[in-house]
C-alpha cells in the first residue's frame, strides 16, 4: 500500500465510522415510517428496553398463582404490552405446552400484564421470549457472562432466571442479588 493509498484508506475508515455513529441503530431501511419512528425507538437497546419498575408495587394474586405453577411468574415489565397480548392469546401452545386458562382468569391476568408491561419499550417489536429482547441479549452477552455458565446443569436455560437472580421471583434483578452458580 502506497502512502497515498493509506491516506485514502484512513479517510474512508473515518467516514464509515462517522456514519455508523450518526446513524441510529434501528434505521435499517429508510421508508417514511421508519424515519418517523427511528429516533423514538433508537433509544436504549434500540427501543427494546425493559420497564421501570419491572414489577408494580401492587401485584395480582391470580397472576402470581397461575404464572408460577410451571416457571417463575416473570415480571410484566420484562416485555412490552403487545408481547403479553400475544402470549396470553396463545396459551394453549405455550412454548410446547398447553398452559391454557379459563376465559375469566385469562382476561384478568392479561389486563394485569398489559397494564404493567414495559414502559420503556418503543420499538414496534413484540417477542414472546424474554431472551430475544435486545436489552436481555446485551445484558447477557458473552462480554457480561462466560458462555460456560449457560451449560451449567443448575442453570439449564436462560428461562431459569432464578438460577442466578436470587430475587427474580419478586422482579428484583439488581446486580447485588446475582449469584452465579458453579
Amino acid at each position: 500500500m502506497s502512502i497515498k493509498d493509506q491516506k485514502l484508506f484512513r479517510m474512508l475508515a473515518v467516514a464509515l465510522l462517522a456514519m455508523s455513529v450518526t446513524m441510529p441503530a434501528a434505521q435499517a431501511d429508510d421508508d417514511d415510517r421508519d424515519e418517523k419512528y427511528g429516533e423514538k425507538y433508537s433509544g436504549k437497546y434500540g427501543g427494546e428496553n425493559r420497564g421501570k419498575p419491572l414489577q408494580p408495587a401492587q401485584t395480582n394474586a391470580r397472576f402470581q398463582q397461575e404464572c408460577s405453577s410451571c416457571h417463575i411468574a416473570y415480571a410484566p415489565g420484562l416485555l412490552p404490552a403487545e408481547s403479553w397480548r400475544k402470549m396470553m392469546a396463545g396459551l394453549d401452545k405455550h412454548f410446547g405446552s398447553d398452559a391454557s386458562l379459563d376465559a375469566g382468569d385469562n382476561k384478568e391476568i392479561t389486563a394485569f400484564l398489559v397494564n404493567n408491561a414495559s414502559n420503556r419499550w418503543s420499538a414496534p417489536t413484540a417477542p414472546l421470549r424474554i431472551s430475544e429482547a435486545a436489552w436481555f441479549k446485551r445484558e447477557h452477552s458473552e462480554r457480561e457472562i462466560n458462555p460456560a455458565v449457560w451449560k451449567n446443569p443448575q442453570v439449564k436455560s436462560p428461562a431459569n432466571c432464578a438460577a442466578c437472580h436470587t430475587q427474580a421471583e419478586r422482579g428484583d434483578f439488581s446486580e447485588r442479588n446475582i449469584r452465579i452458580p458453579g
Binding site: C70, H71, D92, G96, S97, D98, A99, S100, L101, D102, K156
Partner: protein
C-alpha cells in the same frame, strides 16, 4: 335507615364470603361422581377401573410422554416436570389432601396435561379411570 344499612352490609359480607371459595370446595369422591355423570352419557361407558387407570397412567401416549413421566410411577411421592424440572407435589389424594378438591383446577390440569401427553383431550372414561387408580394409591 340504620337497620337497612346494617342489613345490606350483612348481605355484602355474605356474598363476599361465597365468592371466596374455601380451599377444599369438594372431595375427590364428589369430583369422581361428576366425572361419572359426564362419562355415563358416552357410548361404551364402563364403570371406572383402577387397573385400567393405572395402565393408562403409565403408558406412553402420542407425545412419548406418560402421566408418570412427570408424576412418577408412584404418584404418592413428589414428581418433577420432564422438561422444565419443576417440582410437582404428589398427585395421590392420600399423600396430598389438596388434590382433586377443586373442580376448576381438575378441569384445567386434565386439559393441559392430556394435550401435552396425548395430543388430545382425555375422555371422561379415561379421566375417571385415572382418578379411580389414584384413589387406590396408598401413601
Amino acid at each position: 335507615m340504620f337497620h337497612l344499612f346494617r342489613a345490606s352490609g350483612l348481605v355484602l359480607v355474605t356474598v363476599a364470603g361465597l365468592a371466596i371459595q374455601p380451599a377444599f370446595a369438594e372431595t375427590p369422591g364428589e369430583i369422581q361422581a361428576s366425572i361419572r355423570q359426564e362419562a355415563a352419557g358416552t357410548p361404551g361407558f364402563q364403570e371406572f377401573s383402577a387397573a385400567r387407570g393405572e395402565v393408562f397412567f403409565r403408558t406412553k401416549h402420542a407425545n412419548d410422554w406418560s402421566c408418570a413421566s412427570c408424576h412418577t410411577d408412584s404418584p404418592a411421592v413428589p414428581g418433577k416436570h420432564a422438561k422444565t424440572g419443576k417440582a410437582i407435589d404428589p398427585l395421590a389424594p392420600s399423600a396430598n389432601a389438596e388434590r382433586f378438591t377443586s373442580p376448576k383446577k381438575v378441569a384445567k390440569w386434565f386439559k393441559r396435561n392430556c394435550n401435552d401427553v396425548l395430543d388430545r383431550i382425555c375422555t371422561p372414561q379415561e379421566k375417571g379411570d385415572v382418578l379411580a387408580y389414584l384413589l387406590t394409591v396408598k401413601k
